[in-house]
C-alpha cells in the first residue's frame, strides 16, 4: 500500500540535502540564474538590433528550459547523493516501495522547478523587462506541466540506467538532457532545424511546447492542437519510461548491481 508518510519522508530528505549542499545550490538556482542572465543580455542586445522577436524567443526558451533541466536533475541526481553516501540500499530495506520512491522524486523535482522557475520569471521581468506571463497564465501552466512530464520521463530512464550500470554512467545524469535543447528547438522556431532533425524534433513533446509558447507571444489564446499533441506524446513517454525504469531496476537487483553500486 502506498504511504504518503514515506513519500513525505523522501521529499523531506531532499529538502535537507538541498539546503545543506553547496553543489545543489550551485547546480540548480545558481546556474539557472546565470543561464537566464546570459540569454537575457543576448536578448537585450538583439532587441537593440531590431531582432525583437528572436530576443523574446531566447528569454522564453531560457526560462522554460530551466524547468526541464531542474526537474530532470532532481529526478536523477538526488538518487546519486544517496549512492555516494552509501545510503540508497538502506532506504530500500525499509518498507519503501518503488512507486513511493519514484513519486517522491517526481514531487521533489516539481517543487524545486516551481520555486526556481517562478524566481526566474520574476528575474526576467525585473532585470530584462520581459514578463513571461504575457503568454497567459494558463499557457504558462500547460507549458510547465508538459515540460515537467518530459523531464520525469528522461529522469526515470537515466535513473534506471544508473541503477542498472552503476556510477560509471552517472555523468548521464546531468549531461544527457542537453541533447534535447537544440533538438526540441528551445530557443528558435523548429523550421530553423534541417529536415532530418525536424523529424526528430517532432517526436519530442518540448518541441510542441516551445512552439506553442512562441506563438503565444503574439496570440495568448491556448494552442490546443500543440498542447494536446505534447500531452499525448508525454503520456506515451512517461508510460514507456516507467516500464523501462522498472525493467532496469529488476535487472539491477538480478545482477547484484543495485547492491554493488555502493561498494
Amino acid at each position: 500500500m502506498i504511504s504518503l508518510e514515506r513519500i513525505k519522508a523522501l521529499v523531506q530528505q531532499e529538502w535537507y540535502i538541498s539546503k545543506r549542499s553547496l553543489e545543489v545550490i550551485m547546480d540548480l538556482p545558481f546556474f539557472a540564474v546565470i543561464d537566464v542572465m546570459l540569454f537575457g543580455y543576448v536578448a537585450q542586445y538583439l532587441v537593440g538590433s531590431a531582432e525583437t522577436e528572436a530576443a523574446y524567443y531566447l528569454l522564453l526558451g531560457a526560462v522554460f528550459w530551466e524547468s526541464i533541466r531542474i526537474t530532470q536533475y532532481s529526478m536523477t541526481v538526488s538518487s546519486l547523493w544517496n549512492v555516494w553516501s552509501r545510503n540508497l540500499s538502506n532506504m530500500f530495506i525499509t518498507p519503501l516501495s518503488l512507486t513511493e520512491y519514484i513519486s517522491a522524486h517526481m514531487i521533489s523535482g516539481v517543487l524545486k522547478s516551481t520555486v526556481i522557475t517562478s524566481g526566474l520569471i520574476v528575474l526576467t521581468a525585473v532585470v530584462f523587462d520581459f514578463n513571461v506571463l504575457v503568454i497567459g497564465w494558463w499557457n504558462v501552466l500547460f507549458c510547465f506541466i508538459n515540460l515537467v512530464m518530459f523531464s520525469w520521463s528522461v529522469g526515470l530512464v537515466l535513473l534506471g540506467l544508473i541503477f542498472r550500470y552503476g556510477v560509471r554512467v552517472q555523468a548521464l545524469g546531468w549531461a544527457v538532457i542537453f541533447i534535447f535543447q537544440p533538438l526540441s528547438a528551445a530557443f528558435f522556431p523548429v523550421a530553423v532545424l534541417p529536415p532530418v532533425l525536424q523529424t526528430f524534433a517532432k517526436l519530442l513533446p518540448p518541441t510542441y511546447v516551445f512552439e506553442a509558447a512562441r506563438g503565444n507571444l503574439l496570440d495568448p489564446s491556448i494552442n490546443w492542437s500543440l498542447m494536446l499533441t505534447a500531452v499525448v506524446i508525454n503520456a506515451v513517454y512517461l508510460t514507456a519510461a516507467v516500464i523501462i525504469f522498472k525493467r532496469l531496476f529488476v535487472a539491477s537487483t538480478d545482477t547484484g548491481q543495485f547492491a554493488r553500486n555502493e561498494s
Binding site: R20, R86, I93, T94, T253, A259, S263
Partner: protein, 310 residues
C-alpha cells in the same frame, strides 16, 4: 515452521550469470537467538544478506519472515526487521537528527521524535544530533546506524560486520550494547563478522558458508570440539632426544621452536598422559601451555578446504 522462528530460509539459490553464489542453503533463526553467518571472502555471506533484505533478486528457494513469504509480503516483513552494517552509512550531507527523522517516517514510527530521543539517550549520542553525519567518527556513525536499525522495534536485525573499522574499546562497548539489546528485547540477530572472538561472544549458533553452501552448522563450542587436536607447548630443561623417544609411540606432530621448548599437536585426551610420561622419562618441565582450538581454527580449516571437520 513454528511461531518461535523469525526467519526460515529454504533452498536459497542465487546465480550471477553462470556463477552460483548461493547454492541451496537452508537455515532458520529462532526468536531471541543470534546466528552467525561466517565464511571466507566469496563464500556467499554478503549475497545471502542482500537476498534476505530484498535488494538482490533470488533465483530459487524461499524466505519466510515470521511465517510470511518475503516475496509476497515484502513491506510487511521489512517493517519488522532491520539492518546495520559498517559498510553502509546514512546520508552524510544531512544531520544525525534529520537522518533519523527520515527513517522514522519511512518506518512510519508512531511518536517518532520521542522514539528517536529514547534511543539517542540509550546510545548516548545527544551531543551529535545536530552534527552532519559525515562529520562524526566511525564509532559514532556505527551508533547512529544502530539507532536507525532499532527505530522500528525490529524483531530481527541483520548485522553485517558491525565492528569493522572500530577501535577495540568502541567495538567492545558496541558488543556489550548488542548483548544488552538481545537480552532486553528478545532480539534475534543474523550476524556476520570476520572476528571469531566476537562471533563466539555474540552468537548462539554459527553457520559456515563456503562456495555458497553450508559446510558446518553448530554452536561455537560444538564447532571447536570438532577439531580434536590441541596444541601443547612445553618449556623444558634437558635433552631433546629424550622427548623424541617418549613421543615416538604416539605418532604426533611436533616442532622445537627453541632448543628448550617443544610444540606438540595432539588429541586433547593424550595431554595428561604425555606430560606424565615425559616426567617419568626424566624431562624437567619448566612451563606448560595448552592452546585449545578456537572458532578461528575452524574458520581457517574451512577456508583452507579442510572440510573433514564439517
Amino acid at each position: 515452521m513454528t511461531m518461535a522462528t523469525v526467519l526460515t530460509v529454504q533452498g536459497l539459490i542465487k546465480n550471477y550469470g553462470s556463477f552460483r553464489a548461493v547454492d541451496g542453503i537452508s537455515f532458520s533463526v529462532p526468536r531471541g537467538q543470534a546466528i552467525g553467518l561466517l565464511g571466507p571472502n566469496g563464500a556467499g555471506k554478503t549475497t545471502t544478506i542482500q537476498v534476505l533484505l530484498g535488494i538482490t533478486k533470488v533465483n530459487g528457494g524461499t524466505i519466510h519472515y515470521f511465517g510470511q513469504n518475503f516475496q509476497h509480503h515484502r513491506q510487511a516483513c521489512l517493517q519488522r526487521i532491520n539492518f546495520s552494517s559498517s559498510f553502509n552509512t546514512l546520508q552524510g550531507r544531512i544531520t544525525v537528527w534529520e537522518n533519523l527523522l527520515v527513517y522514522a517516517q519511512l518506518y512510519r514510527v508512531q511518536h517518532s521524535k520521542q522514539k528517536i530521543m529514547e534511543l539517542v539517550d540509550y546510545f548516548q549520542i545527544n551531543n551529535l544530533l545536530h552534527e552532519r553525519l559525515w562529520d562524526v567518527s566511525a564509532g559514532q556513525k556505527t551508533r547512529v546506524n544502530l539507532i536507525k536499525a532499532l527505530l522500528n522495534d525490529p524483531e530481527l536485525i541483520l548485522l553485517d560486520e558491525p565492528t569493522a573499522s572500530l577501535d577495540p574499546d568502541i567495538a567492545d562497548k558496541l558488543l556489550s550494547l548488542i548483548e544488552q539489546l538481545k537480552r532486553d528485547r528478545q532480539l534475534s540477530l543474523l550476524y556476520t563478522s570476520h572476528d571469531m572472538a566476537e562471533v563466539t561472544r555474540i552468537c548462539d549458533e554459527v553457520i559456515f558458508l563456503d562456495h555458497g553452501k553450508i559446510v558446518a552448522q553448530d554452536t561455537p563450542l560444538g564447532l571447536t570440539k570438532r577439531i580434536t587436536h590441541s596444541q601443547l607447548q612445553l618449556s623444558f630443561d634437558g635433552d631433546q632426544t629424550k622427548l623424541q623417544q617418549v613421543l615416538k609411540p604416539y605418532q604426533v606432530r611436533y616442532t622445537f621452536p627453541t632448543s628448550f621448548s617443544i610444540r606438540i599437536n595432539l588429541p586433547e585426551q593424550l595431554i595428561p598422559k604425555v606430560i606424565f610420561n615425559l616426567s617419568q622419562a626424566g624431562v624437567w618441565i619448566t612451563d606448560i601451555e595448552i592452546t585449545k582450538p578456537t572458532l578461528e581454527d575452524v574458520f581457517l580449516q574451512i577456508a583452507r578446504g579442510q572440510h573433514d571437520i564439517t
